[in-house]
């Protein structure tokens, strides 16, 4: 298996700029609280050619930031995201490749409201000489059809479409760049339930037809299970577990993965069934001040003194899986 995308030791920190007053105070020797957020903290990750990798985690865990580093929107603070061995971004010129494209969560925000759909789809390919300007209309029609939209959609504005149709437009825009890798950040989260299935099916079809490699970022564990070959679980900026989807869902090794899976409400079809959750105790710690050692130890039922001190490394645990835990779970 060859890796198409290789994420090497990527960290992304956000430091809010100090105000003038704070700078003066700092210059005068006053200790100033730094509010650096370690959104992504030393992540290694491979995405293999042709696979769909699901990236799962709760809000604030850094999954969207990691996706944006891979898609070439954010410069990593350390490390780099490589496509076929070449960095996706250069310090000087920003994003250097068109082979990684992105689909965003909210199609109401990700399409420029003042630009007709046809131009939205065509402008990237024209700017990168994938298509001649005079052949753009035919080209746009082709991609509109690929995502299940009529050709006359090109002449309309985003507000004339429903949420599901807009997301199709956003997908067509990404596909028209003829990418090898598609980074999808919560692409169905803002859609109605009856529309989610349509978009999930579209992704399945595109993957079959175009052989796309995908990073599918979502907090919805059931959607990720449905669409992904492998999953990576993220907690507070670090990846805690990766492996083939079925294995992880059947027998999670990391206590956090287990707790997450236990938190998902299931459909109750038997009135005698008593619904019980085993909720994770406590709150997600602030990414401004993550706990030392294993980030999860404060909420972990199995935490030992060692977990407060040492950061667990990702260790292979068989069947193509690895887990970052000092005391991984066994099969149930």
């Amino acid at each position: 298996m060859t890796s198409l995308i290789r994420v090497e030791n990527v960290s992304k920190r956000f430091t809010p700029r100090l105000t003038l007053g704070e700078k003066i105070a700092a210059a005068l020797g006053q200790p100033i609280e730094t509010r650096t957020v370690h959104a992504v903290d030393g992540v290694d990750l491979d995405i293999r050619k042709g696979e769909v990798l699901g990236l799962v985690g709760e809000s604030g865990c850094g999954k969207s930031t990691l996706g944006r580093v891979i898609a070439g929107i954010h410069h990593p603070s350390e490390g780099s995201a490589l496509l076929d061995g070449t960095p996706v971004m250069s310090t000087r010129h920003g994003k250097t490749t068109t082979r990684v494209q992105m689909v965003f969560q909210d199609p109401f925000a990700s399409l420029d409201p003042r630009i007709r759909v046809g131009e939205t789809i065509a402008e990237g390919p024209i700017a990168h000489d994938l298509v001649e300007r005079r052949e753009a209309a035919v080209y746009v029609t082709r991609w509109l059809e690929a995502v299940g939209l009529p050709a006359d959609a090109a002449g309309r504005f985003p507000h004339q479409f429903s949420g599901g149709q807009r997301q199709r437009v956003a997908i067509a825009r990404a596909l028209a760049m003829q990418p090898d890798v598609l980074v999808c950040d919560e692409p169905v989260a803002s859609l109605d339930v009856s529309i989610q299935a349509q978009i999930v099916n579209l992704f399945l079809k595109l993957r079959r037809d175009l052989g796309l490699t995908m990073l599918f970022i979502s907090h919805d564990l059931s959607v990720v299970r449905h669409i992904s070959d492998r999953v990576a679980i993220m907690y507070l900026g670090r990846i805690v577990e990766t492996g083939p989807t079925e294995g992880i869902y059947r027998a999670p090794r990391h206590p956090y993965t287990r707790a997450l899976l236990d938190s998902v409400p299931r459909l109750v079809t038997d009135s005698a069934e008593l619904v019980t959750f085993k909720p994770i105790a406590g709150e997600l710690p602030s990414p401004l001040a993550p706990p030392p050692g294993c980030h999860f130890h404060l909420r972990c039922a199995k935490a030992q003194p060692r977990c407060r001190l040492d950061i667990p490394a990702r260790t292979p645990c068989g069947a193509g899986r690895d887990v970052a835990c000092h005391f991984p779970l066994e099969d149930r």
Binding site: G72, I73, K95, M102, S110, I115, A127, A170, R173, V183
Partner: protein
């Protein structure tokens, strides 16, 4: 049929406000009359050979020696006031529009690129602009007009310098907000060339607040030009703009020859109020908080 383009929908809503629509018609009429003034005025007030001194300071309705009626009277040089007002409007609108457009172009480019580039460049540009905004525009314009001398060019330069900062501030604020939106991220991840991201995507989405500022600033630059001319720092005396007409007539106010000052003043007020009414409606329509 429901119009689908953003502009079509905007116009549909705009014309439902009678007052704003009326104000827009007034603005359009004034502009039209001002543009056509050489063909509809009985006299060229800037041609000194046309002026008859014996006809000076005559009240409205006076039939002059050239045989036509001075409906709004004449000024101290014997100019037909109606003609002078139209020519004055022409200059005022011309100066206001050109200065407004230049200030818009310079300010918006600076503000938008500052927001797009961020970092030190942004800080530098915006601090200079903040510094300038802390001086009153009239003071800057006065100093510049005094230094650069009389004439249209220096006047426009003074107005632009006094006003571009407002556009830059507004553009910077709007563009900073747009910069963090997902459609800009989408453009960056394509990636589209920076120029296209700024001019095709960010800028058009910043236009709503800028259009509002533009209407206000055009009205302001017309008023500012009138003020400078009133103070004698604007255009030459031989080509009086509205401000100078008012200034020239001012000394006759107490002697009962009100028309020399009042009529140019009324023309100025009508123009500025009408532009502001149009601007108010545009602002109300573009302000999402006032929308239902």
């Amino acid at each position: 049929m429901e119009p689908t383009s953003p502009f079509g929908r905007f116009w549909q809503e705009f014309r439902q406000n009678r007052i704003a629509l009326g104000a827009l018609i007034v603005v359009a009429l004034i502009v039209l009359i001002a543009v056509l003034s050489p063909w509809i005025t009985p006299q060229n007030p800037y041609d000194l050979s046309n002026l008859v001194l014996t006809d000076a300071r005559r009240p409205p309705g006076f039939i002059g020696s050239k045989g036509f009626t001075h409906w709004l009277g004449t000024d101290a040089q014997g100019r037909d006031l109606f003609s002078a007002i139209l020519y004055g409007l022409r200059i005022s609108i011309q100066v206001g529009l050109v200065a407004g457009a230049l200030a818009f172009a310079i300010g918006v480019t600076l503000g938008t690129f500052a927001a797009y580039l961020g970092g030190r460049i942004e800080a530098l540009i915006m601090r200079v602009i903040d510094l300038q905004l802390s001086f009153p525009a009239i003071l800057l314009a006065l100093v510049l007009a005094a230094v650069l001398g009389q004439g249209k060019g220096p006047l426009i330069a003074a107005l632009v310098t006094a006003q571009y900062a407002y556009f830059a501030r507004t553009a910077h604020g709007a563009a900073s907000a747009e910069r963090s939106k997902e459609y800009v991220e989408a453009a960056l991840s394509t990636p589209l060339p920076p120029r296209r991201v700024v001019f095709r995507h960010i800028l058009p989405n910043c236009l709503p607040p800028l259009i509002v500022v533009a209407t206000v600033q055009i009205a302001n630059s017309i008023a500012l030009e009138a003020t400078l001319s009133f103070l004698g720092l604007g255009l030459p005396v031989s080509e009086p703009s509205l401000g100078m007409l008012i200034a020239n007539g001012f000394q006759y106010m107490l002697s009962g020859r009100y028309w020399i000052s009042i009529y140019p003043g009324v023309a100025l007020i009508v123009l500025i109020v009408a532009i502001n009414l149009v601007g108010d409606q545009i602002r109300d329509q573009l302000n999402p908080r006032l929308r239902r």
